[in-house]
Point group: C2
C-alpha cells in the first residue's frame, strides 16, 4: 500500500503519526464512515471509486470549515471477498488525498463481514468557519450543480446503470477545498457541505446560526435532468453551502477555484420568539413544503 501511495503517504509505521500544525493556525478534525450496503453497493462502484468517495466525504468536512488538509488516517474492515481489491481501494484513497493535498499518515486494517472504511481527516485554518455564523443580510451560495447523486441512486435502485454524468457525481465527488478556503477568505460567515441534502443542510445552518434562511428554488443550480426539488433532496453532493456577504464576486470564485458559485437565497432575522427555519419559495414566491430529512440510520441502498 505504501508503495502504491508513493509520496502521498508519510511516516506510516509507528503507533501514531506525528504532525505539526502551522503556527497561527487551528487544528480541524473530522471522521466519516462509509459502509457497504449503507452508503454504496458493491456493484455500483469500482473499488477505486469506493476508496475515493469515502475519502472525499471526509475531506469535504475540512472544505466545509474553510480548512486545508494536513493528514488523513484510514481504518478499513475488509471482508475476505474484498481483500483482492484492497490495492485498488487504496489507490482511490490516495488519489482523493492527492486531489486536495495532505498526506496519509496512518491506518488500521482488520477483518470484517462487510467493507467499512472510516476516514479521519485533519486540517488547519487560521479561522475555521462553522455553521453558526450566518447573519441576517447575508446571501446564501452553493458550489457546483446539484441532483446528480440522487439521480444516480434512483437509477441504480431500479437495477439500471445511471447516465455517465450522474454516475460521476456519485462515484467521484470532489472535496471543495479550494472553494472553501476562497469563501473563508472572502467573508463567509457560515459554511457546511451538502451531505444530507441542500434543504436539510440549510436547516442545520439556520438552527446553528439562529436565523431564517430563504431559498429560491428557481435559483438552485441543477445538473441536467434534475428538478430543483431533486436538487434540494440529493445528499452526498459534497458541494459547499455558504452564507456570505451579498457582494461576493461569484465569477472571480469560479476563475480562482474552477468551481461555480451560485447565489440561491438569503438570510433573514427571526421574528421575536420564532424558531430558526428554512423557507423555500418557488419562482412565483409561493412557499414550497420541504421534503423530510435524512435519517442516519436509514439505508440508502
Amino acid at each position: 500500500m505504501l508503495a502504491r501511495w508513493g509520496d502521498v503517504a508519510r511516516g506510516v509505521g509507528d503507533d501514531a503519526a506525528v504532525l505539526d500544525v502551522p503556527a497561527g493556525e487551528r487544528l480541524v478534525v473530522s471522521t466519516d464512515a462509509s459502509v457497504e450496503g449503507v452508503h454504496f453497493r458493491r456493484g455500483w462502484l469500482t473499488p477505486a471509486e469506493v476508496g475515493w468517495r469515502a475519502t472525499t466525504a471526509a475531506l469535504s468536512d475540512l472544505a466545509a470549515m474553510g480548512a486545508r488538509p494536513l493528514a488523513v488516517v484510514w481504518a478499513a474492515a475488509v471482508p475476505p471477498d474484498w481483500q483482492a481489491d484492497l490495492p485498488a481501494l487504496a489507490d482511490g484513497v490516495g488519489d482523493a488525498v492527492r486531489d486536495v493535498g495532505g498526506h496519509i499518515v496512518g491506518g488500521d486494517l482488520t477483518a470484517g463481514t462487510e467493507l467499512s472504511l472510516t476516514l479521519t481527516v485533519l486540517g488547519s485554518a487560521r479561522a475555521p468557519v462553522t455553521r453558526a455564523g450566518a447573519r441576517p443580510g447575508d446571501t446564501l451560495y452553493v458550489t457546483g450543480a446539484l441532483g446528480g447523486p440522487l439521480r444516480a441512486l434512483r437509477v441504480w435502485q431500479r437495477g439500471a446503470e445511471p447516465a455517465p454524468l450522474d454516475r460521476e457525481r456519485f462515484a467521484r465527488p470532489r472535496a471543495r477545498v479550494a472553494a472553501g478556503r476562497w469563501l473563508s477568505a472572502h467573508g463567509a460567515t457560515a459554511l457546511i457541505d451538502v451531505s444530507d441534502g441542500l434543504a436539510a443542510d440549510l436547516a442545520h445552518v439556520a438552527a446553528a446560526s439562529g436565523v431564517r434562511c430563504e431559498l429560491h428554488l428557481a435559483q438552485v443550480p441543477c445538473v441536467a435532468g434534475a428538478t430543483p426539488l431533486d436538487a434540494l433532496q440529493s445528499g452526498e453532493e459534497y458541494e459547499l453551502l455558504s452564507a456570505a456577504p451579498p457582494d461576493v464576486d461569484v465569477l472571480r470564485c469560479e476563475r480562482d477555484t474552477g468551481v461555480r458559485l451560485t447565489p440561491i437565497g438569503r438570510v433573514t432575522a427571526l421574528d421575536p420568539g420564532a424558531e430558526p427555519e428554512v423557507v423555500v419559495r418557488d419562482a412565483a414566491g409561493r412557499r414550497v413544503d420541504l421534503p423530510p430529512g435524512h435519517d442516519h440510520f436509514s439505508r440508502a441502498c
Copy 2:
C-alpha cells in the same frame, strides 16, 4: 449521547471539530477499529466494555508515543440489534476518555450489519517517542503484568467464563498514558504498546531501531496463572514496552503513576550484516523459539 457524556464531550455538532495544539508541542494521531466477531464477541463483553475497550485500544497508541490525549472522534457502524445498546456503548467510550483526559469532539453514526467502532485519537507531546530509538545498552521495560487477555480468550473460545481478573484485563484494559509520559520524561528511547503480543511488538522495536533485543523470559511479569510463554503471546494487553537507560527508577515510576514497571531484557548491537532480531532466553540462558506473530486479517474470535 452528548447528555450522557457531559463535560467529556466538547464542541460536537459542526462539520469538523476545532482544536488547539499546545504551543511547542507536536500533534500525535492514531486510528483504531474494533469489529464485532473480529476483536470481540457480543456475549463476552457488556456494551459499555465494548466501548471502553475500543477507545482504550486507540488511546493506548497515544500512551505509546508518550503523548497526552487532546481529543477523540468516533465512528460507529451500528446494526439494528445494537441500537438499544448505543447509550451504554457511548458510556464506555466516555468513561475511557475520562480515565486519561481529553475530550470527545466528534463522531459519525451509520447503520451496519456488524458493530464496528473506529476511534481516532489526537494527542500532543513536546517530543513524541517512536519505536525507532532503542540503542545498544538500553534496558527493556514493560508495564503491568501480561497474559490476562490470552487466558480470557482461551476460556471464552471453549465456551466458558474467564476468571474475573483475566476477564477484567481483556474487558477493561487501561491506556498507560501516565506511564508513557513518565517514561518519556525519564529517558525512554523507544516506546510501543503491547497489542500484537510482547514478542511481536519487541520485534517491531528491534526492526525499527535496527538493534537486537534480548528478552529474559523469567523476568516477564505474568498475571496469576499465566506462563511466561502466555505472556509473550498475549495480544491487546495495552501495556507499554520501552527501551530506556538501565538506571530508570522503577519504584519511582510505580509511585508516580500507579503502574508497575519491570526490566525484562536489554538492547544489544547487531553484528555487522546481521538482521534486527529478538532473542528470548530462559532462566538457564537457552534460546527459546518465538511463537508466530499475529495476522491482522485473522479473526481472534
